[in-house]
Chain length 197, copies 4
């Protein structure tokens, strides 16, 4: 029961954050969005900080879970890459979630240790999954550059998300997915050949 209320509050909080950012999020806006009074918020949470923390935690968990889904498939190389392309497009189109992730990153960079640690975990696990994926679909000997490659592949997704947020529809997402696809199909193998020769 109490959990239901809490969920309502953090959902409201995330909607508010996506609209006005973390700094612009006030208790009154959260209360209004959740259909509660400001006082009621304090029955479920001790402070604004706790609410924000829970809301951010939830957002990060969702995005971490999404990142981990990459590995799920057990297809061959072409199928796997095709699947990645689809996931990618979905990711680029979740504007609201991307905005929130972006605000959270900000919060972390500003010195919120808790959130920073969560981001660290998320990237570490994500990079690990991508490393595995690389090894699985390219079947090459792992080298010391595999982690860096994974990091770069992930970074390019984040970077494109940033461009989509900043430039809106002047970014052609389909073309970018196609390039990403070709990169995985042709570019990466050429790269890997270089190191493993």
């Amino acid at each position: 029961m109490i959990e239901k209320k809490k969920l309502r509050i953090i959902n409201a909080t995330n909607r508010v954050i996506s609209r006005v950012g973390i700094a612009g999020t006030t208790m009154r806006k959260i209360a209004d969005e959740a259909g509660l009074s400001t006082g009621a918020l304090y029955h479920h949470y001790k402070s604004k900080e706790e609410i924000l923390y829970d809301a951010m935690d939830r957002s990060l968990s969702v995005s971490t879970r999404m990142a981990q889904e990459t590995k799920q498939g057990k297809y061959n190389r072409e199928e796997a890459i095709e699947q990645i392309g689809k996931d990618l497009k979905k990711r680029f189109n979740k504007i609201d979630e991307n905005r929130i992730q972006f605000y959270l990153a900000q919060e972390a960079i500003l010195g919120n240790e808790e959130i920073l640690r969560k981001f660290g975990d998320k990237y570490q696990s994500w990079i690990g999954h991508v490393e595995e994926l690389l090894q699985r679909i390219y079947e090459k000997q792992p080298t010391r550059y595999n982690k860096a490659l994974a990091s770069l592949l992930i970074g390019s997704i984040d970077g494109i998300v940033m461009q989509v947020l900043l430039r809106g529809n002047t970014v052609d997402i389909d073309d970018i997915c196609e390039v990403y696809n070709q990169l995985l199909l042709e570019g990466i193998p050429a790269l890997l050949d270089q190191w493993t020769e």
Copy 2:
């Protein structure tokens, strides 16, 4: 003379922004950082908004200029790519500037039209330069995917910057530069071949 004071204020503002973010930047903090009283700030600027705008404008100009420097070189492919690698490393190490860029991006995403437009201009010009570069060093027929490729190459830089900010020294910058290098040397050509056959 008055410009000197303005510059002092702007520099102080950028230091404050890099420390506490744009939302956390108050007139009092700027005044303290600049060694002035709050009232004095209003001699040189009509409002906080103007100060922030000038400070952001300056940061963005610097980063836009940096982005444009990419094209300067008149080397052959290997030399050009080597140069890019060096620039990249420099870029990754400018932590403070990267933080500010990140805060500015947030400001833009939150609805600051002026800043958003500047980011749009910056990316457009940057992508243009990278497109030219691609054509110059690979000497292939341009295809409809060239812009997307440029966008992706730039995005991957932003994404890595984000990881550096979020994960600190768990990202091995040298390795990433090496991978980026190999990508340009081996990966991209393999990609371009695909489209121009």
Copy 3:
């Protein structure tokens, strides 16, 4: 309930205004006078302007109503004039209300359109009532000068109020009422005769 608080704030505001004028009225003074914190004022009103507006509106309504009461009587000439004399004296003695009216007039003259309009309405209605009264008690043909006469009779009240405020007890209110009385009994009829012959 909430209206009760608003009334308390408005009353406090009017006390403050009567003490220090509109320009000297600060939120802190209002809050202190009402026994509240400054923040609490913003629960009931969105801004200082709204508080001042409500306070001024209330003062003006009261004075407008007072002005309109003149017509009520259904007496003969002597009784009506006697009644006017009594009303006059009461009006002169409401020092605080007169002060506030005076401050409001200044506010209007300084360019507060809303208040200016209300004053316009008040005078228009007041002059109309006096015109009717003149016609009723003197039973002469109305001439083009009736409106001007009404305006002058009203103006002389305002002017005396001003003198009372500025000169205090050096103005003998009883004598002035007596003169006003005689003016209505003997002076005005002689005037009207002049125009209707």
Copy 4:
């Protein structure tokens, strides 16, 4: 020399006051209007209060002098009354001066003792002059009501000025002057007869 600068400052001050009121008058506005720097004001005056005082003093002196001019004439009744009518019209049309007078009255009522005393002096002298005038042109025995009558005649002028300021061109000044004229020609004699019988 120094007096010339002081004059420039108080003229500038009066222009500013007439535009934005006493409370809205700032040192910077005075300095700008006078074509000086704020610092320069302090070479001639020790404080804002002194400047305002001098400016107000000057305005009040001018208006007191104007009030005293009434007596100058040495005409018969009709000529004197005609002259009064002309003066009246001039007075009503000096909008800027009337505004300033009004603001000064405010200042006095708010507790500025110095200004209050000056107003007291002005009215006392003005009333005295009008009393003399009444006696001269009507040649009746003076009664205890003469002072009150003078006060009322002066008050009605102030009251009309107030209406002109508040209602602008909806007051027909010519009509009012005509009524005032008739009041002096026919109304006042009828009044005086009453008391001296």
